[in-house]
Amino acid sequence: MLGIEDPLIWSGYLAMLVCTAACVIYGVKNWNKGAPDDGC
């Protein structure tokens, strides 16, 4: 994939993108949760 033959390397890149997307989605979904007045 994209000039990288070893699946253990390109799957690493794929995992990196998935983890980054997970951070973005988590941040967006919880953007307003846990405010000080929520008692958290």
Binding site: G3, I9, Y26, G27, W31, D38
Partner: protein, 524 residues
């Protein structure tokens, strides 16, 4: 490099003026010890994310680990997966929220203080402070070496001048401005790093003719792997090392797991969770932190490996040879040689920022461990004591930087993270997640983790044991065990054992405290 030293000096001076202004802001905003130690517990989420990321990512990641990728290849990308998945998502969403809540509830202001108050144990507070005060200078010295080497080559000053000057500048704003100055300068430095690393990736692919072309060229270079590295398991820069080889064990156990897991119990990072006033700030910080880390280590490891293509095209040498056999020299050499002059100033500031942001946080954490957690006692004037202690720790780090060997940046980072995880992680996790944490279990775990980590480092893991020389002095050989154990990182042995010690003691204590069986209960 066509950019003159005087131009670089002017930009460096301008950058330092901005840093000085932020330090002054920190100084003005610091009204009490809690401001100095925890930035008033009211930090903006973006500042938190950038500060955490910039502290996390130092010259170690860009110069040290980027150079390591130039040496051993793209397998380091799995460390980025751990950096984001464990170092951001798990750290903020699970550990961070609990740390913030517990820190607020107990009024804790440092990592050792948090452990001590959670277990009501001065032993745990002092023991974890000792680990910070003894182990962290190793990491700080590695950052100092990386920063000084870069300043030496870029500004054409002597190594001594670069080392001392660098330490003095960082020391000044840490001691004067406390954590507010540290975190705001971190945020500035993190912003510069994000811009610079994005550009580095784009410029590298442009230079090498495109993404697929660059990777294909690197894949085709596998026959150029030096004999020594091939014998150790190197299978090419776009392949993982041969499974079970010494290089494979080093990559998986020391680099990916050691650094990837070790981040959870890093005192200088954990304390940042206590600087925000709500979980909402942590949620928002995750949104910034994940992409930031991808831009840092993901880019550094990719570009690090691709430097082989550039140097081979330009000089007929692989990156390690172009760096004179020193992996730590690969990234500075590449940036100076390959990046257009117009961006050289930016990259100089990026690398300077990476070093300064981590170093300032380490200086602050070491100073608070020695000053607040070990020396303060019941004295009220903790800020002055912490400032004095910070100065002592900075001098110790500079002294250590003079005696540490070359090629040490990535290894010293992994060692410190391994020690923290082995000794502190199980006790820290229990303090956060167990409603009735056991003091005895935490103590046993900390002692077991620290002792096993040290024993494995001094007598088995050959890269450190040969450098320390204790095993050679006592037993006449560098390692006491046969392959593959000498290449298995101390963390892989010490962390499971310290966790086992914690669980065993907790169960034993629960059994001992369990009520008597029904027939044995005396009537009221």
């Amino acid at each position: 490099m066509a950019v003159s030293t005087s131009v670089l000096t002017v930009f460096t001076a301008a950058y330092l003026v901005i840093v000085a202004l932020l330090a002054y802001y920190g100084y003005r905003k610091t009204k009490c010890a809690e401001d100095y130690l925890l930035a008033g517990r009211n930090v903006h989420p973006v500042v938190l994310a950038l500060s955490y990321g910039a502290t996390f990512i130092s010259t170690s990641a860009i110069i040290g680990f980027g150079g390591l990728a130039g040496q051993i290849g793209m397998g380091l990308i799995w460390l980025t997966v751990f950096n984001i998945g464990v170092g951001i998502l798990l750290a903020f969403a699970i550990f961070g929220k609990r740390t913030r809540a517990l820190g607020h509830k107990l009024g804790a202001v440092t990592f050792p203080d948090l452990l001590g108050k959670a277990y009501q144990s001065s032993f745990l507070a002092k023991a974890s402070a000792v680990i910070v005060a003894v182990g962290m200078p190793l990491y700080a010295a590695a950052i100092l070496i990386g920063g000084a080497r870069f300043i030496e080559s870029t500004l054409s000053v002597s190594y001594n001048t670069a080392l001392i000057g660098f330490a003095i500048v960082v020391a000044a704003y840490v001691i004067v401005g406390g954590l507010i100055a540290v975190m705001y300068t971190d945020a500035l430095q993190g912003t510069l790093m994000a811009i610079g690393m994005s550009l580095l990736l784009v410029l590298t692919y442009i230079k090498l003719g495109g993404v697929t072309e660059a990777h294909t060229a690197l894949t085709s270079m596998k026959d150029l792997v030096p004999e020594g590295l091939a014998a150790a398991g190197h299978a090419g820069w776009t392949s993982m090392p041969v499974s079970g080889s010494s290089l494979w064990y080093t990559l998986i156990t020391t680099i990916i797991l050691g650094v990837g897991i070790g981040v959870l119990a890093q005192p200088q990072l954990v304390v940042r969770f206590m600087t925000v006033k709500s979980d909402r700030s942590l949620h928002r910080a995750i949104l910034v932190g994940g992409p930031f880390i991808m831009l840092m280590t993901g880019v550094a490891f990719t570009v690090g490996a691709l430097t082989n293509v550039y140097f081979f095209n330009e000089t007929g040498q692989i990156a390690l040879a172009a760096g004179g056999g020193n992996a730590d020299a690969i990234m500075p050499e590449y940036i100076n040689a390959a990046i257009p002059d117009i961006f050289i100033v930016l990259f100089m500031l990026v690398l300077l920022s990476a070093a300064m942001s981590t170093l300032s946080s380490l200086f602050h954490t070491m100073g608070t461990a020695l000053g607040h957690d070990l020396l303060k006692g019941k004295r009220a004037d903790s800020q002055k004591i912490t400032q004095g202690a910070t100065l002592i720790m900075i001098v110790a780090s500079v002294a250590l930087a003079y005696v540490m060997p070359a090629n040490i940046i990535a290894r010293a980072t992994a060692m410190f993270m391994g020690l923290c995880a082995s000794a502190l992680l199980p006790a820290f996790a229990m303090a956060l997640f167990d409603k009735a944490p056991s003091k005895l279990a935490a103590k046993t775990s900390l002692i077991t983790g620290g002792a096993v980590w040290f024993a494995w480092t001094a007598f088995v893991h050959v890269k450190e044991s040969s450098a320390l020389g204790i095993s050679g002095f006592l037993f006449g050989k560098d390692t006491l065990m046969a392959m593959p154990w000498p290449v298995v990182d101390p963390l892989i042995i010490a962390l499971p054992l310290s966790t086992l010690a914690l669980v065993t003691m907790k169960l034993w204590e629960s059994r001992a405290a369990a009520p008597l069986s029904k027939g044995d209960v005396e009537p009221l």
